[in-house]
């Protein structure tokens, strides 16, 4: 296991929470490099997400935040290094992608959408009984959509639909919850309600990792933060990670990125001895 303390690119002063090699995080990233067509979007990232932690992933555009989540759900194969999920199967992960490929005018109603969260319990064939239905209705109540059960999803606003997706994740009952910009283009009232749901998950000792842009939101709701600018800039308690010096450094790194992929870049030699 590479020690995050020696991860190149990290500020020497930044605290990385799992430098202790004996700590056994729920998700461990080992010298992880991710990218598309050999151009790295995340570069040599090492560290771990503790079981039950609530972490925000922040950083400039193109910093590799969404790419990191995709790698954690296994939708993207690492160019180098690896993601280790400790005792988790795909069914234990709930993932809310940034641009869900949802067909928004599909003829399905709110309750049926939320019931899909039971997939790992009912699969293709098993029937959905009263108990599972009650769970879905409870989830709808938690996100403030009681009475919307039979509304077609095409009739919902963007905020209401995001509530539906959160209700589906509540029903999924997953140990690891990955949210990719869940509050972008969502109204303030919905954001506040859904942040309550996130807090509830944290209270239930679930591990939540959310890609976010609003630093105030991160400071007031997320205990831990990973500041990413392709390279890890800082990873630790939010107040430390979002220190002004780190933010300046992240912005400076983003300004150094070429507009298009740098085709003349040679292969990275950093990992070689």
């Amino acid at each position: 296991m590479g020690s995050p303390g020696v991860t190149p690119g990290a500020t020497p002063g930044a605290t990385l929470p799992f430098s202790d090699a004996t700590a056994d995080p729920l998700v461990r990233l080992t010298d992880l490099t991710l990218g598309y067509r050999r151009h790295p979007a995340v570069h040599h990232l090492s560290g771990g997400f503790r079981d039950g932690s609530l972490t925000a992933v922040v950083g400039p555009n193109g910093a590799g935040k969404s790419t990191l989540l995709k790698a954690m759900v296994g939708a993207l194969r690492p160019l180098d290094g690896r993601v280790t999920l400790h005792g988790l199967t795909a069914a234990d992960i709930a993932y809310l992608p940034q641009q869900a490929e949802v067909e928004r005018d599909f003829p399905i109603d709110v309750l049926d959408t939320v019931l899909l969260g039971h997939w790992r319990r009912v699969g293709i064939f098993r029937s959905i009984g009263g108990a599972l239905r009650d769970r879905a209705e409870e989830a709808l109540a938690v996100v403030g959509l009681s009475g919307f059960e039979r509304r077609p999803i095409a009739a919902l606003s963007a905020g209401q639909f995001q509530r539906v997706l959160f209700a589906r994740m509540l029903v999924q009952d997953a140990r690891l919850i990955l949210l990719d910009e869940p509050f972008t283009a969502i109204d303030a009232r919905t954001t506040a309600d859904l942040l309550d749901v996130v807090r509830r998950w944290h209270g239930e000792r679930r591990t939540v990792i959310a890609v976010l842009h609003d630093l105030e939101q991160v400071r007031s709701h997320f205990p831990d933060t990973l500041l990413l600018a392709r390279e890890p800039i800082a990873w630790g308690r939010t107040a430390d990670a979002l220190a002004p010096a780190n933010l300046v450094r992240a912005r400076a790194m983003a300004e150094g990125w070429p507009e298009k992929g740098d085709d003349k870049a040679g292969p990275c030699r950093r990992a070689e001895p």
Binding site: V102, E103, P107
Partner: protein
């Protein structure tokens, strides 16, 4: 002429009309729900391309065994499936999009088919393959069409849940579906097989050029009448069967070719639905009614 004379007598009097009616019923049961799923997956034109792709296989079957339903059916099925799979493969390994590669393959396929038929057969045979012969459907043909409808309904009932989720939220199915995320791809494949099967059933009756008519027109019309998936499928089945009856009667009384008559009646049904249906039609757009209280 009374309504009875017009609408019931032809079926009582002539066995070929009863057979055609039964074939229409079987076709409607299979094509209705498959057409709805095609519309929901935004694959309406793909169905059209695939129906043309069936031709060379049917033509080779025709060369090998004459006007045998089974030979032409199996050949058509293989050709249609090959085009669907090749188009999917090309779009995955090259930069060409799936619809473009579909168009390329079905055009090759259609031209090849017409060439094969005209090399050996007379023009009458070509017309049979292109425009169908529902009024001449025999026992074997009826069994084939009914078998296809049965298989379609059974498979749809079995795979209903993943098929619907794959249309609605493919990313979610990849994440939770198991089989290492390949359940969605598997469902897509099974669905393509069902589409080709139903097109093969349709081309016996309506010909390769119009087999897709009984699939797409009722499905498109149903969108103006129903909102849930199950009700959409039932509506499409009913509309397809009604078009079948209407088309057969039209063709009987006016001495018109049956295939185009059926498709034209389905087309008239579509235009009526478009104008008058209760869900999102022109009528609801122009006369929306008073909005609700809350």
């Amino acid at each position: 002429m009374t309504l009875y004379d017009f609408a019931v007598d032809p079926f009582l009097e002539f066995a070929f009309m009863r057979r055609a009616l039964a074939a229409c019923l079987a076709l409607s049961l299979g094509c209705g729900p498959v057409g709805i799923l095609l519309v929901l997956r935004r694959m309406s034109l793909m169905g059209d391309a695939m129906s043309h792709a069936v031709l060379p296989g049917a033509a080779i079957g025709f060369l090998a065994a004459g006007l045998s339903l089974w030979a032409m059916g199996i050949g058509g099925f293989l050709a249609g499936l090959a085009v669907a799979l090749l188009a999917g493969l090309v779009s995955r390994v090259t930069a060409l999009r799936e619809d473009a590669s579909f168009a390329a393959f079905y055009l090759i396929s259609l031209a090849g088919g017409v060439l094969i038929v005209s090399l050996r057969g007379s023009n009458v045979d070509l017309m049979h393959v292109l425009f169908g012969t529902i009024l001449a459907v025999d026992d074997a043909g009826l069994l084939l069409v009914a078998g296809i409808a049965t298989v379609t309904l059974l498979v749809l009932a079995t795979l209903y849940r993943p098929l619907v989720v794959e249309c609605f939220d493919p990313g979610f199915l990849r994440a939770v579906g198991g089989s290492r995320g390949r359940l969605g791809a598997l469902c897509h494949l099974v669905f393509l097989v069902l589409v080709v099967l139903n097109l093969v059933g349709g081309f016996q009756a309506l010909g390769t050029l119009m087999a897709v008519g009984l699939m797409m027109l009722p499905a498109a019309s149903a969108r103006f009448w129903a909102e849930g998936i199950a009700t959409l499928a039932l509506t499409a089945m009913a509309l397809a069967f009604a078009s079948g009856i209407g088309g057969l009667l039209l063709s009987f009384h006016l001495n018109l070719p049956s295939g185009p008559s059926i498709v034209l009646v389905a087309g008239a049904g579509y235009l009526l639905s478009l104008a008058l249906g209760p869900v999102g039609s022109l009528r609801t757009r122009w006369f929306p009614g008073r909005h609700l209280a809350a």
